[in-house]
């Protein structure tokens, strides 16, 4: 009892000398804390948000002037130009999508235009071309298509006819791809 401290001191410790690393190949330290805040997967529609449930099938066009949660099947076009569109985990969309912000948890087959950002969560599946101001893609998400990062003012335009040549952005890793490039350069 009284010798507890002494016993702890005498406990053998592993050597702290780091192992020699190969020149061409080196181990990676444990990943740092997540650069992005981990948002809970929105498996259910948040309160106060317009929602289309998982048993609903829509063919045609949706135009929303508020945030929209879509968890059903949809074929056509979805436009939420100034708000967030969340595509739920049960959703199956064959649609072209245009929104300010798009969060994908389900399956989408079609082109997506998100003026601000698109967030592909784990288990999301997107086949189509993306045009956006920024993109976040989680490990486990499946994406097939092209990604075009558009710059600030261009991303806000609804249907650009001629795109200016994109300017290179700093190579520093940014949590949100394309977000850094919207900043003015000096």
């Amino acid at each position: 009892m009284w010798n507890k401290r002494r016993e702890e001191d005498s406990t053998p410790r592993p050597p702290t000398t780091p192992a020699p690393a190969a020149e061409a190949v080196r181990e990676v330290p444990p990943a740092p804390a997540p650069a992005l805040p981990i948002k809970p997967a929105a498996a259910e529609a948040p309160r106060g948000v317009a929602a289309i449930g998982k048993s609903v099938i829509i063919k045609g066009q949706i135009l929303s002037r508020e945030d929209l949660y879509l968890d059903g099947e949809m074929e056509g076009t979805v436009e939420v130009p100034e708000h967030r569109l969340t595509i739920g985990p049960h959703a199956k969309l064959v649609a072209s999508i245009r929104a300010r912000e798009v969060v994908v948890l389900g399956a989408v087959n079609g082109n997506v235009e998100a003026s601000e950002k698109i967030d592909l969560r784990k288990d999301a599946k997107l086949v189509g071309d993306i045009k956006t101001g920024g993109i976040i893609i989680e490990d486990g998400a499946y994406f097939k298509g092209s990604i075009d990062i558009v710059r600030g003012s261009e991303a806000a335009r609804p249907a650009p006819s001629a795109r200016p040549v994109p300017q290179p952005a700093p190579a520093a890793a940014a949590p949100l791809v394309g977000a850094a490039s919207a900043e003015p350069k000096h």
Binding site: A24, R26, A31, I137, F143, I149
Partner: protein, 232 residues
Amino acid sequence: MNDRWKPLTRADPSGGSRLAQFPPQPQRAQNSRGGSQHPVYSRHSNGLEQFFGQIGSEPGLRILDLSGASQANIAFITNLGHKLYSEDLLQSLDQAFGDGDFFANQSAPARVEEFLEQSLNFPDDHFDGVLAWDVLEYLAPVLLKATVERLSRVLKPRSCLLAMFHAEERAESIPAYYYRICDGSTLLLTLRQVRRPAQFFNNRAVEKLFQSFESVKFFLTRDALREVIVKR
């Protein structure tokens, strides 16, 4: 043998008994979202450095990444001002040929054509660069030949392709990786699975594979992964 170079002792889904040398004892690091843990390691890549050196510095180029979409590759390539095309060719391979004999299925001309139409259906002279990574090792000869021809078609003249080939000659199973770009000359490799390659490529076989290209350049490395830059 140094403990850091032990062979990987993961169950081999393809039933192979001999495993390729896995690079250093991989550290099990959490991914950025706290998800499942996979062995990862980073390596200097002269091939990657050459690739981005050769495709040019002007923005607006089209780059095809055959390793699947990842935040790291998207960030790096789009921050250079380029447009990224993403395709997970290994996953598409499994979906297209996974029923029955994986390699025998890749020899059926109709299935090969269908696969190419679904996975590499791009206009001619479309890309300024292709990051093929190690996926060509898992293609049986008939599909491999057709795929390389298709890649040659979709690449612009004098543009580049980066590929990797394991150097272990008698390995029955080799590690397949996710390749993530850390910077212009460093890659982060995450073990994806251990699987049987379709064939072994020595330097002569690689040269023959890309004989229709203008040049083939090898980068010898200290681990068991050879890097190859081919210019169309």
